[in-house]
């Protein structure tokens, strides 16, 4: 018997976004829309189950509106004979006082027998759930464990049992596999290592937490589905779920199915020495985005990394100017969002000329370069009070912070010392 299911993770319903109001609203709607698409896909494909590997919603205060939408979607699945299995993550922990416990999706009643097809793994102890097809015949076993708190630090994967069954077994967990790509961008909750997934012999592991879709452990069927809809410029590319057809004792190979209606992409723009007017830069940006639009099906949200010398550098680094330019780009291209990053941009200057004769500027360059290696010099240059550093930060943190501040400071020195006088 083949156990066919959809592996979703990190839906983050009701998430809060950064950026412009319109973009935020579109991204919020896109998150719900992606979930609806996933549900419709499961119904059309007559799958056996939809597995959600944690972080179904973003905040403990899930809105009533979203809760009702979620309940309706789950009911649609369950009434069509499709199981809905959800394990709790750090955003939607399942402790008794937590929000996920209040969502009694799996509390079957006489009036609502469909809830028998719903299962929520709320606690750290692994539990099993037998998935049945529409006729009631068992097709697979899901073993899952959930986060009971929003700071689960126990290795949950290590406790997953090996099962003796003829049915395909699938592990469902919200975990940070330490070796996973981009794991460093996520909090270290329910940490696990590749060795934790070797001994169970499961046909598939459906993981959540890391938002980059990937095989989490080489040579093993351990997969992150990635989040359902990219939420910020770091979460680029197509987003969706993994369609899995699991056979007993055979490592399953999932197939990616895109669901996200909005796609984040990052574009790098350099060689801007000749771009000396806003119109020229806008034309360049429009052309690059249009080219990208031709290659994807989704709506686009774009981050543009502007680097190198540019005559517009000083202007573009002013907040008001940047906002206006981004608005202009959105208007021209029709994309959901445009974000410009100008930190790598600098006014054009010849460093050799600047350093040719002794001056305050050349001395400042000399000091900045020295401070990157010399802690004493760094401390001498440091402001007496730092606003952006926690009061309890230790020395290494403080120095790292200060050195971060030094990044690209020469460009800024040049801009400020050689730029025009402010009006």
């Amino acid at each position: 018997m083949t156990f066919r299911f959809l592996h979703l993770a990190d839906l983050h319903l009701d998430t809060h976004f950064g950026g412009r109001s319109l973009a935020k609203e579109r991204l919020r709607a896109a998150t719900s829309e992606a979930f609806r698409r996933a549900v419709d896909f499961a119904l059309e494909e007559r799958l056996h189950a939809v597995l959600v590997a944690g972080d179904l919603f973003d905040d403990p205060c899930l809105s009533l509106h979203t809760e009702l939408e979620l309940a309706r979607a789950v009911q649609r699945l369950a009434e069509a004979g499709i199981a809905f299995v959800w394990t709790c993550g750090n955003h939607d922990p399942g402790g008794k006082t937590k929000r996920a416990s209040g969502l009694a999706l799996d509390r079957a009643t006489e009036d609502e027998p469909w809830r028998e097809r719903v299962r929520v793994f709320r606690g750290p102890q692994p539990e099993r759930f037998i998935v049945k097809d529409a006729s009631g015949a068992p097709v697979g076993v899901v073993v899952g464990a959930g986060h009971s708190t929003d700071r689960e630090d126990k290795n949950l994967a290590a406790d997953f049992p090996r099962l003796a069954t003829d049915l395909p077994v699938v592990g469902l967990l919200h975990t940070q596999v330490e070796s996973a790509l981009s794991a460093e961008h996520h909090d270290r909750f329910a940490p696990s290592s590749p060795a934790d997934f070797e001994r169970q012999g499961y046909a598939y592991w459906a993981l959540g937490h890391v938002h980059v879709r990937q095989r989490a452990v080489p040579d093993l069927p351990v997969w992150y589905a990635g989040n359902l809809q990219g939420r910020n410029p770091r979460e680029t590319g197509a987003k969706g779920g993994l369609l899995v057809e699991a056979e007993p004792g055979v490592p399953a190979e999932p197939v990616f199915v895109p669901f996200a209606p909005v796609r984040w992409e990052t574009l790098a723009l350099s060689e801007l020495e000749g771009v000396d007017t806003a119109a020229a830069l806008a034309d360049l940006v429009e052309a690059r985005i249009a080219k990208l639009q031709g290659t994807v099906d989704e709506e686009l949200a774009v981050r543009l990394e502007l680097t190198g010398p540019c005559p517009l550098a000083a202007r573009l680094k002013r907040a008001g100017e940047l906002d206006a330019f981004e608005e202009e780009a959105i208007e021209r291209t029709g994309v959901v969002e445009v974000q410009l990053r100008t930190r790598g941009l600098r006014v054009p200057y010849d460093l050799a000329d600047l350093l040719e004769s002794p001056s305050v500027l050349s001395k400042a360059f000399e000091l900045a370069a020295g401070a990157r290696d010399d802690d004493r010099l760094l401390e001498r240059l440091a402001p007496a009070v730092l606003a952006g550093l926690p009061a309890d930060a230790d020395e290494p943190e403080r120095r790292a912070y200060l050195r971060d501040l030094l990044a690209g400071i020469e460009d800024e020195l040049v801009e400020r010392c050689l730029g025009k006088e402010p009006v």
Partner: protein, 884 residues
């Protein structure tokens, strides 16, 4: 450059007065408003010209307008320069004018414009005012419009073309940093605004959470309302049902109450009889006895009986009735007999006539007998044969074939004859007899109409032997046998004659039969009359009449007997019928009396007792009727067993008016409550319908955006602050390595007047660390700002100014230094330290010390051998002017 002499021709309060000035140090002393500022203004005017340059705008000239003072300003000075002594004249008429002449010469020629002296070039008026002419406040703070110039002097030369002054960039950075963030939040930095906004955003998040919770509460409230509404509806339905049931329940309660009061009458005492009034029952008993009187009398009389003769007649009544019934047939037979006889006579006449026509004579008895045997069929065959022959000869058909009479014709004829005979003798029914006659006649007709054997036509046609042979016994007219056709006509005549003779025979036989039948009946009648001993029986029909009369009389008698028997039977029936009834009535009356005694023992008489019992029964009947009516009502099934009926005395019995009022009020209250809840329900539904969701996320987005902005702002601030520090350090190092001349000179002065306690002056532009001084024995310079004492700071600033003056005056005559109350904050010890320095300075430049303090004036006079100008002694106070 030193002022040797000042001649105030007309300059505000100072006019027509000449001051000889000490070339070293001069102390200008005078109380307030005695012209110290005017004196200073005159020094400045001599060097730089009038400012403003028009009389209309110059404050001293304007002040003089309308007073005793002269509005034209005129001052002359004698200056010692490196090149010699000169005289300078400054006059403000409409505009300021200048004349410079060597000492000892008179002012001649045209005046120049209001220009500065060549000897002060490179020093602006503003710079002179702030640097050369120091007031107490000016010592520490430089005016903004000269500060930049001074800073340029302090900071040294820039080596990068187009680079902005470092102090300005630093100032911008410091300003930007403090506008972004300050740890003490002074000056309302952006971070404070953001923090406030974040607090508001957090509150908004909490509000959103509460709103979301309120939505959940609204859902709960909506569900609770639904349940409450259901409960209210149920209560309303219950009350409405109670309202609708109340009337019926009232009826049931009334019925129950009446039942409770009812006195049931035990009609079983009447043994199934109905309850009637005793008087009525007695009347009925009497009526029955009256009805029994007549039957009883009838039964008492003897019954009627028949005589034996009547009995015998009645015994043969059926026979007699049969005879009487056959009287009609008897009479018909008589008439038939007469008819048959008449018919026979007619047929006989007709046959005789036909024969006479054939034979030409009346027939004899033999003729008719012979004719009866005549072989008509043979004749017909002979005729046909003859006719054929005849036709064969004449080509005309002459005869048809004749066949013999079939057997069935004979059989019919015989049977008909037998039936006719039997009918004539009344052996069989007359109708059968008549049918027999008809059958006989038909057989005869058929037999007679059958063609006989072909007569032998004469051959050739004139004769037929067969015909002749057939007709041999008959004496007929010859013409009748002449041709086949004549023979054929003969045959027809003979056939008709035969038929007539047959009918005649039948008629005769019938007449005979009828005559015999009639006679037999008459004999039978007579015999019966004789048997019944009927007198005078007579013959024929008379006997029958006698029998009929006797039978009628016997029957009348029998009817009388039967009627009498019926009367008796009826009487007996009546007696049998009424007697039990009478007995029953009597028993009924007995039972009735017993019942009345039982249920109305106190009644005075049976009628009263009966009336009472009847009332009880009436009540019972009413109850039964009412109960039946109520049972017929569909509500009976639902309400007859209502427990509230069991306690009719309860205050909340539904049919009570008070309860009805309560119920009405409660229903009204429920309606109002339902309306209110509907309204609330609608509000909640609308609220839930209009909920767009993600409220908390939106609020968090606002908070997040602000927090991100604050984080970025902090980083930006730190970066800006770091930039400023970096620039400051670079500037300091750069200046250390390339220290400006001003600071070098100032440091020298400072070290001199502090006896080496402060060694080094350093300067940078910034919010917190402008001028720094290095203390002997310390490496880090300390800012020239509190907590450094005001006196020390004044010393430092004075040294800085002196260094600055030296720098500015490098390469040209040193301009005078004016200290306007500069030493007022200095204690005696510090002043004592200062005087040697001033003495040294005075070697190079003239010093004017302006003060209102006489002690200070005298101290300076003695310490520095200064000349004293006592303005208070010269200018009356009321004429004084004040200038800022």
């Amino acid at each position: 450059m030193r002022f040797l002499r000042l001649d105030f021709r007309s300059f505000g309060v100072l006019r027509d007065h000449v001051f000889e000035l000490n070339p070293g140090v001069s102390v200008v002393y005078g109380p307030n408003e005695t012209g110290k500022s005017t004196f200073l203004c005159a020094l400045e005017t001599v060097l730089f010209g009038f400012e403003p340059s028009t009389r209309a705008a110059h404050p001293i000239a304007v002040f003089a307008e309308g007073t005793a003072l002269h509005s034209d300003l005129h001052v002359e000075a004698e200056l010692e320069l490196d090149s010699g002594t000169v005289r300078v004249e400054r006059v403000l008429l409409q505009r300021g004018q200048l004349r410079v002449v060597p000492a000892g010469e008179a002012f001649t020629g045209a005046r120049e414009s209001n220009r500065p002296l060549y000897e002060v070039q490179g020093v602006t008026r503003e710079l002179f005012r702030c640097v050369y002419a120091l007031s107490s406040a000016d010592l520490v703070e430089l005016a903004d419009d000269v500060r930049e110039d001074v800073d340029q002097l302090l900071l040294g030369e820039h080596s990068v073309p187009g680079m902005r002054p470092t102090y300005r960039v630093r100032a911008e950075l410091a300003e930007e940093a403090s506008q972004l963030w300050r740890h003490d939040n002074r000056g309302k930095p952006r971070s404070a605004t953001l923090n406030a906004a974040i607090r508001e955003a957090r509150k908004a998040v909490n509000v959103a959470r509460r709103e979301e919770a309120a939505l959940h509460e609204a859902v709960k409230e909506k569900r609770a309302l639904e349940l409450e509404l259901v409960a209210l509806r149920e209560r309303q339905r219950r009350l409405e049902r109670e309202e609708s049931d109340a009337a019926f329940l009232a009826e049931l309660a009334d019925l129950a109450a009446r039942r409770a009061e009812a006195r049931p009458v035990d009609l079983a005492l009447l043994d199934g009889a109905q309850l009637v009034a005793p008087k009525e029952l007695g009347r009925e008993i009497r009526a029955i006895e009256h009805k029994l009187a007549e039957p009883r009398a009838r039964l008492a009389r003897d019954p009627f009986a028949e005589t034996p003769a009547e009995h015998a007649v009645l015994a043969r009544a059926s026979v007699i009735d049969g005879h009487v019934r056959s009287r009609g047939r008897y009479e018909a037979d008589g008439e038939a007999l007469a008819g048959a006889r008449e018919r026979a006579r007619t047929l006989e006449r007709d046959a005789a006539a036909r024969w006479t026509r054939l034979a030409g004579r009346p027939p004899g008895p033999e003729d008719l007998a012979q004719l009866a045997r005549f072989p008509l069929a043979g004749l017909r065959a002979a005729q046909e044969s003859w006719a054929k022959d005849w036709e064969a000869h004449t080509a005309r058909p002459t005869a048809a074939n004749h066949t013999a009479v079939p057997a069935w014709v004979l059989l019919v004829g015989v049977a008909g004859a037998i039936l006719a005979a039997l009918g004539s003798f009344a052996v069989v029914h007359a109708a059968l007899g008549a049918l027999g006659v008809l059958a006989l006649l038909a057989a005869l007709v058929v037999a007679l109409r059958r063609p006989g054997a072909a007569a032998e036509a004469p051959s050739p046609p004139e004769r037929s032997a067969d015909v002749d042979r057939c007709l041999a016994g008959l004496e007929l007219e010859p013409a009748l046998r002449a041709t086949p056709s004549s023979v054929l006509r003969l045959i027809d005549q003979l056939e008709a004659l035969g038929d007539e003779l047959g009918e005649l025979s039948e008629a005769r036989e019938r007449a005979e039969e009828l005559a015999q039948s009639l006679a037999a009946r008459e004999e039978e009648w007579l015999a019966l009359a004789n048997e019944l001993a009927i007198d005078d029986a007579g013959a024929g029909e008379i006997a029958l009449a006698r029998l009929e009369d006797a039978l009628a009389r016997a029957r009348e008698r029998r009817d009388e007997v039967l009627a009498d028997a019926a009367d008796r039977t009826r009487a007996q029936t009546l007696v049998d019928a009424y007697l039990p009834e009478l007995e029953r009535h009597r028993a009924h009356l007995h039972d009735l009396h017993a019942l009345l005694r039982e249920h109305a023992p106190d009644a005075q008489d049976p009628a009263a007792a009966f009336a009472l019992v009847e009332r009880h029964l009436e009540a019972e009947r009413y109850l039964a009727t009412r109960a039946a009516e109520l049972r017929a009502d569909p509500r009976w099934t639902l309400l007859s067993g209502d427990p509230r009926l069991a306690r009719p005395e309860a205050d909340d019995a539904p049919w009570l008016p008070a309860r009805a009022r309560e119920r009405k009020e409660e229903l009204r209250a429920i309606e109002l409550e339902v309306e209110r809840q509907h309204h609330r329900f609608g509000e909640l539904a609308e609220r839930l319908r209009s909920d767009e969701g993600s409220r908390v996320a939106r609020a968090q987005e606002r908070q997040l955006a602000l927090e991100v902005e604050l984080d970025e702002l902090r980083v930006t601030r730190d970066r800006v602050a770091l930039l400023e520090r970096l620039l400051a350090e670079a500037d300091r190092v750069h200046r250390d390595e390339n220290q400006p001349d001003v600071l070098r000179r100032a440091s020298g002065y400072l070290e001199s007047i502090t006896a080496g306690r402060y060694t080094h002056l350093d300067y940078a532009i910034g919010a917190a660390d402008g001028l720094h001084v290095t203390v002997q024995g310390r490496t880090d310079p300390i800012p020239v700002a509190p907590p450094l004492s005001r006196g020390t700071r004044d010393q430092i600033y004075l040294c800085l100014r002196l260094g600055l003056l030296d720098h500015l005056d490098e390469g040209r005559p040193a301009l005078p230094l004016v200290l306007d109350e500069t030493l007022v904050h200095w204690d005696a010890e510090r002043r004592a330290e200062l005087y040697p320095l001033l003495a040294r300075v005075a070697e190079r430049r003239q010093i004017f010390i302006l003060t209102c303090h006489e002690n200070l004036a005298r101290e300076v006079e003695s310490a520095l051998a200064a000349g004293i100008i006592d303005l208070g002694a010269i200018v009356p106070k009321q004429q004084s002017l004040q200038f800022d």
